[in-house]
């Protein structure tokens, strides 16, 4: 039988797991300054407005910075990073398509690297890809809140406002965990994980 000696065409990626930003822990947080990073995708503003209300109930003395990206499919960039630089925690929403979820991952890593605990929200079809991207960018532990992509076959960006608000309320505990639990606990919870985690969301779907 003949033998062929051929080259493999692939190369492995470096990967990596830089540490997450340190978290203060919920008891040490008095009056946090919270960043709401909207990537400009349809309904991301509605989602974040509800998260803002939930955060305000949890932290009544909280203040907020809001930034909306010019385009979802580019990096946050220096203007946005400057606006959000003084935040104690950030909610970054939401990556519900291929390129925008990639840039949400990119932004989430940039903010964690800047020392700000950040909850990055994406939808399920893009979860595996986003995890791979985070690992390739050297940040395999990045906490990713994974939402189902559709409810009753309607994608998140095209749902009515009240449906988006109920999703936001259901996922809030996970967001709070990400921005307030210890970096070690958050890393352990999200490393290699690409699942929808909030039970009420899975049930609602």
């Amino acid at each position: 039988m003949p033998t062929y000696v051929v080259f493999q065409p692939t190369m492995s990626s470096a990967g990596g797991a830089e540490p997450l930003a340190s978290r203060k822990g919920v008891d040490a947080i008095g009056s946090p300054h919270i960043g709401l990073l909207c990537n400009s995708k349809a309904n991301a503003d509605v989602f974040l407005a509800e998260i803002e209300q939930a955060l305000l109930r949890r932290f009544p003395a909280a203040t907020f910075s809001r930034h909306t990206k010019l385009t979802a499919s580019k990096a946050l960039g220096p203007v946005g990073e400057t606006e959000l630089r003084n935040c104690d925690m950030i909610v970054n929403a939401f990556g519900d398509c291929g390129s925008c979820s990639s840039w949400s991952v990119h932004d989430g890593i940039a903010l964690e690297r800047a020392g700000i605990p950040t909850a990055t929200v994406i939808t399920e079809p893009f979860a595996y890809k986003s995890r791979f991207e985070a690992e390739s960018l050297g940040f395999g532990d990045l906490p990713l809140v994974v939402l189902p992509h559709t409810w009753d076959k309607t994608p998140l960006g095209q749902l009515p406002d009240d449906a988006v608000r109920s999703i936001s309320a259901a996922v809030y505990p996970e967001v709070e965990f990400i921005v307030t639990a210890s970096a070690e606990d958050v890393a352990a919870a999200y490393r290699k994980n690409v699942d929808v985690r909030t039970d009420s969301l899975t049930a609602a779907r």
Partner: protein, 353 residues
């Protein structure tokens, strides 16, 4: 430590090698040429580059391809060795962050990377610039574009469905490469417009979401012809209408000649299309205006007046114009990925003599 690609020893017939590559997800679904040591060495010999030299990293894997890895993939794609300098320059072009391969390899959009070659090398390598230049039948066109796609897959990590999240994709993601038809163009070639000498060899990477036919075999003046183009390029679903960016028009030589005969330079054509190719505000759905258009287009374009038209590019300079194709009354409009992705032009290094 050698950074050359590892070898595999496969016992069996030639089709067993193919099955192995297919089963590992290393092809685009079409058969590949087995990258044997001899064929890869011949490929490497055609370029004056160290096989272990690395090119800029490719997202999403962020892996920096070696010249050797590019050669392996170029063999698989079916390239002749003399194409290799073009493939290397093209890989460098697609790696430039301004093209946004990080977004292009991940997006749900059908976007493909179109490669266009300018300069004397196009004729030397028989890169088709004439009839059916975007279609099948020409080895250089077919395999140069395919080689770059295979590098993006095998080194960049753009695996369909898991990493490449295109809703449908498009046939241009197999290969999409042509040469500008410089000899039949009434205007200065693309690379000269971008500051290169006429006899320089370049390759340009542009993101395109598709190829849309623009038929006009009746209009006798530039003004009338441009009316056809203005209508063809402005519609709500085109990514440029929502996201700005750099739309491309591949004029047929016949259309270009009629327009130029009336005294239009490239700059005039860009300006005319910028002014005329517009989507009225009332044609956009309200939520699209709110979430997409008014976030992505320049603030000066925002308007509540339903009669105001938004141009298909943010400035006249952003309209890209080239000439290619054979006889016939058809041109091609290629909407691009939009604001995040701008064209990249790279010089092609001389092949090893």
């Amino acid at each position: 430590v050698s950074t050359l690609q590892p070898t595999l020893t496969i016992e069996g017939e030639a089709d067993d090698v193919l099955e192995y590559y297919m089963n590992h997800g290393w092809t685009d679904g079409l058969p590949v040429v087995s990258p044997t040591v001899e064929l890869v060495e011949r490929m490497l010999a055609a370029a004056d580059r160290d096989p272990e030299e690395t090119l800029p990293p490719l997202p999403p894997s962020r892996t920096a391809p070696t010249v050797h890895a590019v050669a392996v993939n170029a063999v698989m794609a079916g390239c002749r060795p003399e194409y290799f300098p073009v493939v290397l320059a093209a890989v460098e072009a697609v790696a430039d962050p301004v093209l946004d391969l990080y977004g292009l390899q991940a997006t749900t959009s059908p976007v493909a990377v179109l490669l266009m070659v300018n300069g004397p090398i196009a004729a030397r390598l028989q890169i088709n610039s004439m009839g059916n230049c975007l279609g099948p039948g020409f080895r250089a066109n077919a395999t140069i574009g395919r080689a770059v796609q295979l590098v993006a897959l095998n080194v960049g990590g753009g695996t369909p469905q898991t990493m490449d999240k295109a809703t449908h994709g498009q046939p241009g993601k197999f290969t999409l490469c042509f040469a500008e038809n410089e000899q039949d163009s009434p205007w200065e070639p693309w690379h000269v417009e971008h500051g290169f000498a006429l006899d320089a060899d370049t390759v340009t990477a542009i993101s395109v979401t598709g190829t849309q036919n623009v038929l006009d075999g009746c209009s006798k003046t530039a003004r009338e012809l441009l009316q056809t183009f203005a209508s063809s390029c402005a519609h709500v679903g085109a990514q440029n209408a929502q996201l700005g960016g750099w739309p491309l028009i591949i004029f047929s030589p016949e259309h270009a000649q009629i327009i130029a005969r009336d005294g239009y330079t490239k700059t005039d054509v860009k300006q005319a299309l910028y002014e005329q190719s517009r989507v009225p505000v009332h044609q956009y759905p309200a939520d699209m205006l709110r979430y997409k258009v008014f976030h992505n287009r320049p603030r000066k374009m925002w308007s509540d007046d339903p009669g105001v038209g938004l141009p298909f590019a943010d400035t006249a300079e952003d309209v890209n114009i080239v000439v290619a194709g054979g006889a016939g009354p058809h041109s091609v409009f290629c909407p691009s990925f939009g604001l995040p992705s701008s064209p990249v032009i790279r010089a092609i290094s001389a092949a090893r003599q």
